[in-house]
Point group: C2
Chain length 98, copies 2
């Protein structure tokens, strides 16, 4: 089983796609992310496990591409908000009562 | 600077939110993911960097929650498709001509 940090994945996406991502720009890349989320939603209703897994991969890939052209460190942003406890109730597991 | 593998993050989300995520179910959790993507899109048009970073965090968090209730290993699914080369042209950087 291989391992990959969020940051490593974002860096891999940068090596693979940064030139095209930056030429496409923020709006176009965000629109691709939205399309991939919709494709994931369609696969969730089906029974093709491998196709569903590929759509999960595409969503995180386009999220990383968007973070790259925004100059945002996705791993740091993620850990700043979700650091082993719920950002709202500060507990693990979350104990929010809403 | 802290580090986190995609798998570790998914496991953290499972500890924090699995009970609520599984009770909410696939459709409801997918709808939350869609909402978070739209919130990210709104922040991209603004100038609040920290708020934008939090929306990136929320999108990957809800994607991980959805993967948890689907029983999908997000890191493995991601590496199965994006393993240091473009899945279409097999090159790094991507050399697709479309």
């Amino acid at each position: 089983m291989s391992h990959m940090e969020i940051r490593e994945f974002q860096e891999m996406m940068k090596r693979l796609y940064y030139k095209r991502d930056s030429e496409r720009g923020i709006d176009g890349t965000f629109n691709w992310l939205v399309d991939e989320v919709h494709e994931l939603g369609a696969e969730l209703k089906g029974s093709d496990r491998e196709a569903t897994e590929k759509e999960f991969a595409d969503v995180i890939a386009w999220l990383a591409s968007l973070a790259n052209i925004m100059g945002i460190d996705l791993e740091q942003a993620t850990l700043n908000k979700y650091n082993h406890k719920c950002p709202k109730c500060q507990s693990s597991p979350c104990a929010c009562t809403f």
